[in-house]
């Protein structure tokens, strides 16, 4: 280990450091161009925190006993990910009302008479009066966790002014805390770039801390990470690597993996998912919630707990069930626990993620399955290959007579019709091979009394049924390569950029060489120079430093000044 660290110092190889965490040698691509130069700090991004991030930060900051009752605004998907689309979103009046209500409720709980003795780190001189010193201590300590960086004096002063208006000390503190909880610095992830000693732009330490914490734990930085940002440790490859390795080794990595797959697998589509009750009487909100949980449990169990090969997610017959899902799958549920592992028999025809209720029901119609929807989503999610909209003036007159027989008969027309074929010949075969599962994900062998043909030709190879599709997915190198891309896009909140291609190729190779292990991949991406690449947005300019600010930056408290 000592030798390794020396090697890192001597050659400056981040790859060697990554080895310590993942057990594999990784050569990261270098940034194609030198970083832009900067005169001073500048804000490079403002991304709204997601619902799960909000909830996690509140629980980490105050304790998981705090109830958060709010309806969060919908996010927006672009290039396959909410993390990309939502970077364009702000907070509407409706959304702000919700944040405001939640902030009042959280402050009320945190400063309730029963809690204040433990939640407030100091005792006011007189609880009937404002006490700036104690209030400032409280605001500094919680503010740093909520804003993910130390508060500036101006930010504290504004809240002290609010606190003085309260009816007594704790009432004032409650108002001040509410004000932190509705602040843009809390509700948006505000990323800051700063000049390094040579003047080249780099993300500041707190931004780096947030990037890795949100990616790996789906929450803001913890105290240790904030300390590493403050000390400048995150500005060195070794320091960054040490923190990434710590996050990767923690059980909380499961939270980060869960959040990422919730986004990539489009599980938000469960919001508002409905099935026609007269055709699928078994469908209910409980089934929908359970299916979502089944998928996430499978992902975490396979990829994190057991550190399995990512590609096996498409062929494993192992899953997790509760009582209501067992009824949908028509299998016995004998466990006393709420959730129990279950392995489908070979003859079930099931094969990994694609044959879970989640994928099958999300990408279907309310009353029938949809090979086209399933095929389109399969390529979009796992291959990052979007399907263009159908031509507006397509002639449907030949696509008739769908009331009888199987859906295949109708779709054959699409696949042979010029204008439709380019897309449907890609999306439909794979969807038709999944047709042994209905709109709720239950097995069926007949449609309108006719046997369903689940054969398909994928990439020139004849396959049959879902297990054939699963194997096709497992063997296709584009599937793990897409995961690499998506984790990166998700972490940085930016979509496709052709200059990143070399980077992706090398990262995908490293992922393969390390046996397609997802925890290691998270660490690998978080430590790559690309992950901390600075993109200065159009119109962002540093504020010219005033003399007193320059003075502050050389004081002992220099990091705080730089964070402004």
């Amino acid at each position: 280990m000592t030798k390794l660290v020396q090697g890192v110092r001597k050659y400056g190889l981040l790859a060697a450091a990554a080895c310590a965490a993942s057990g594999a040698m990784i050569t990261h691509a270098r940034l194609p161009a030198a970083s832009p130069t900067l005169e001073g700090p500048v804000k490079v991004a403002a991304r709204r925190v997601t619902e799960s991030q909000y909830r996690n930060i509140i629980a980490d900051t105050f304790g998981d006993w705090v109830q958060v009752n709010a309806r969060f605004e919908p996010e927006r998907r672009q290039d396959g990910l909410l993390a990309i689309g939502s970077t364009q979103l702000s907070i509407t009046p409706v959304g702000f009302e919700q944040y405001y209500g939640a902030a009042r409720s959280i402050s009320d709980q945190v400063l309730s008479e029963g809690r204040r003795a433990t939640t407030v780190p100091c005792t006011p001189r007189d609880a009937e009066q404002a006490d700036d010193a104690c209030a400032a201590t409280f605001l500094r300590s919680y503010g740093e966790r909520l804003f993910r960086r130390p508060l500036t004096e101006a930010q504290i002063d504004a809240r002290l002014a609010t606190a003085r208006k309260g009816e007594d000390f704790y009432d004032g503190l409650e108002l001040a805390l509410t004000s932190l909880l509705i602040a843009p610095e809390f509700l948006f992830r505000i990323e800051v770039a700063e000049p390094d000693p040579s003047g080249a732009a780099r993300l500041d330490g707190f931004t780096k801390a947030s990037r890795i914490a949100f990616l790996m734990w789906d929450t803001g930085p913890d105290a240790e990470l904030l300390a590493a940002a403050k000390s400048g440790a995150l500005d060195t490859p070794e320091g960054l690597q040490r923190q990434v390795a710590r996050l990767q080794a923690s059980p909380r990595l499961a939270d980060g993996v869960r959040a990422f797959f919730t986004d990539m697998l489009q599980l938000d589509a469960f919001e508002g998912l409905t099935k026609d009750a007269s055709i699928y009487p078994k469908f209910s909100q409980t089934v929908a919630d359970s299916a979502r949980e089944e998928t996430l449990r499978t992902v975490v169990d396979q990829l994190v707990t057991r550190n399995r090969d990512y590609r096996d997610l498409f062929v494993t017959r192992e899953t997790w069930l509760n009582r209501s899902l067992a009824a949908v799958y028509k299998v016995p549920f004998v466990s006393q626990e709420e959730w129990a592992p279950y392995t489908f028999p070979e003859e079930s025809g099931r094969s990994g993620l694609l044959t879970q209720v989640t994928f099958l029901s999300l990408f279907s119609h309310p009353g029938s399955s949809s090979p086209t929807k399933r095929g389109v989503k399969l390529y979009e999610i796992f291959f990052a290959q979007p399907t263009p909209d159908p031509p507006a003036d397509v002639d449907f007159s030949k696509v008739q007579a769908s009331s009888e027989g199987t859906v295949r008969m109708r779709l054959i027309e699409h696949m042979t019709n010029e204008g439709c074929a380019a897309c449907h010949s890609v999306s439909d075969p794979v969807g038709l091979a999944l047709e042994h599962f209905d709109s709720l994900g239950q097995v069926r062998m007949l449609e309108d009394g006719k046997p369903i043909d689940v054969s398909a030709v994928l990439n020139g190879k004849q396959v049959s049924g879902a297990q054939g599709v699963g194997q096709f997915m497992r063997d296709n190198p584009r599937v793990p390569a897409t995961l690499v891309r998506n984790i990166y896009y998700y972490g940085v909140g930016r979509g496709f950029d052709e200059r990143d291609e070399t980077f992706f190729e090398q990262e995908a190779q490293a992922f393969a060489a390390a046996g397609y292990k997802v925890p290691a991949l998270f660490g690998q991406i978080a430590t790559s120079p690309y992950f901390m690449k600075v993109v200065i947005p159009s119109g962002a300019k540093p504020v010219p430093a005033r003399p007193e600010q320059v003075a502050t930056r050389h004081s002992a408290d220099s990091r705080r000044g730089a964070a402004r």
């Binding site: 979103l89 702000s90 009046p93 504004a158 610095e185 508002g272 119609h365 309310p366 003036d393 119109g539």
Partner: protein
């Protein structure tokens, strides 16, 4: 009659921190109205409410004929099969046919280009974005400043759909459940104008100071951000100001308003997207909305019945409306798609029910519908081919007497923006021109303007 003092708060200008001037309106009371309920006793007109109503998949037109365009134009048009649901309210609804969305060389983005053209006045470059703000925001800026909510967004099919946008990228977040809509309107923060024991809540001022700490930091925060982030932060601070306005209103005693009655709380939400459930949601939401308008909670609303590529269905039928619209053969004898047309009629039933609820609530000797102007529109003309020609549009309500309602207006290929502009003008928004490129227009449909 005792002289009533009106000037004190007929327009109260409260200058809030940050310099936003807010005009606080007054709730209405029957005795303030003149004889016919058209204007307040002091001569100020009754506030006109503006709404948009969207439904997906247009109405049925086939090369063989139409199921919705009346043959007669002007007043006294006949009710066609797919407009059956507005029969009882026909004299309060104008029907617009033959208008089209013009692409200006941009592709026809299916189930999007048409609605974006109507709402924003420009052919959009990409699905789910608009290239200009939607027209309801222009109206809301003009007439929505004085109420608790600048505008109210609702979606009846369980999904958070909205065509309302200031930036073209971020859309309004609608209420998707009647129960949540009820809570938002009549729950915490609602001021009952008929509560005899009204007292200002001293806590409200403290809540205002919570907001001022956030506003104090605005300059420091926004000084060095890029353009895109500045737009986001501006929108955030607009939302903060909206909250300030709500709080300021809570410090004002609301004027007695006998017509404002807190409606019954809806039952637990019904889940589902079948047309029966969507129509029932529409009806319940309309009932709540009608009272929200009377109680002066908002003057502008946006309602989405179903999505463009509508996923609604008849219960027990395995095919959704969107599938039918494309796949169903045209019946050789009848000349139209039978199930598609049945669904179109069922979808329009939602609109008829919606209007009926607004017409059931009286204000003076008029109804809420009479004092409103609601523009209903869809995303396509003939949905089977995603046609941007002859997109159905309707203007419902009397606009406080400004709308010469009950007419059928037919053109051959005039831009849809003419109808949008007409709606904005009927709502009293000072807008003389709307749209971009080939859809730019300054000519409203004057036939319907009083």
């Amino acid at each position: 009659m005792k002289t009533l003092r009106f000037d004190r708060r007929s327009i109260m200008r409260g200058v809030l921190r940050g310099g936003a001037a807010v005009a606080l309106g007054i709730p209405t009371l029957d005795m303030f109205l003149d004889g016919n309920g058209a204007a307040l006793a002091n001569g100020r007109p009754m506030p006109v409410r503006f709404g948009t109503y969207f439904w997906g998949l247009g109405l049925t037109d086939t090369p063989q004929g139409t199921r919705w365009v009346p043959t007669k134009t002007g007043h006294g048009y006949e009710i066609t099969p797919e407009l059956e649901s507005i029969r009882a309210l026909k004299d309060k609804v104008s029907v617009f046919s033959g208008f089209r969305a013009i692409g200006d060389g941009k592709p026809n983005l299916v189930h999007w280009s048409g609605l974006a053209a109507i709402a924003s006045g420009s052919a959009p470059g990409a699905t789910n974005t608009m290239d200009s703000p939607s027209f309801d925001t222009i109206v809301a800026d003009a007439i929505g400043q004085s109420t608790r909510f600048r505008s109210l967004d609702m979606s009846a099919s369980g999904k958070p759909l909205s065509n309302s946008t200031y930036t073209g990228k971020a859309f309004a977040t609608p209420e998707v459940s009647p129960l949540a809509l009820y809570e938002r309107l009549f729950g915490d923060g609602f001021q009952d104008p008929n509560n005899p024991d009204w007292k200002p809540d001293s806590r409200v001022m403290l809540r205002q100071s919570v907001l001022s700490a956030v506003k104090d930091q605005r300059d420091a925060l926004a000084a060095d951000v890029g353009k895109a982030d500045r737009i986001k932060l501006d929108q955030y601070y607009t939302s903060v100001r909206e909250m300030e306005k709500q709080l300021a209103l809570q410090l004002e005693k609301p004027e007695y308003n006998a017509a404002c009655l807190i409606p019954e709380k809806p039952e637990a939400d019904k889940r589902g997207a079948s047309i029966e459930v969507v129509n029932e949601n529409s009806k319940t939401m309309a009932r709540l909305l009608a009272m929200a308008l009377v109680c002066n909670q908002t003057r502008v609303f946006n309602f989405v019945h179903t999505a463009g590529a509508s996923e609604t269905y008849l219960a027990g039928d395995s095919k959704i409306y969107h599938q039918y619209s494309h796949d169903e053969p045209t019946d050789a004898k009848l000349g139209y798609q039978i199930n598609t047309s049945r669904l179109a009629g069922a979808v329009m039933q939602g609109f008829g029910d919606f209007l009926t609820e607004l017409d059931a609530v009286e204000e003076g000797d008029r109804t809420v519908l009479d004092n409103s102007i609601i523009m209903a529109y869809s995303d396509t003309g003939y949905a089977k081919i995603h046609s941007l020609e002859n997109i159905p549009m309707l203007l419902a309500g009397g606009a406080g007497g400004r709308h010469k309602a009950g007419q059928h207006i037919h053109t051959t290929g005039e831009p849809v923006t003419r109808v949008s502009l007409t709606a904005m003008q009927l709502a009293g928004a000072p807008v003389g021109e709307f749209g971009m490129g080939a859809m730019k227009t300054s000519s409203a449909v004057t036939e319907v303007l009083a």
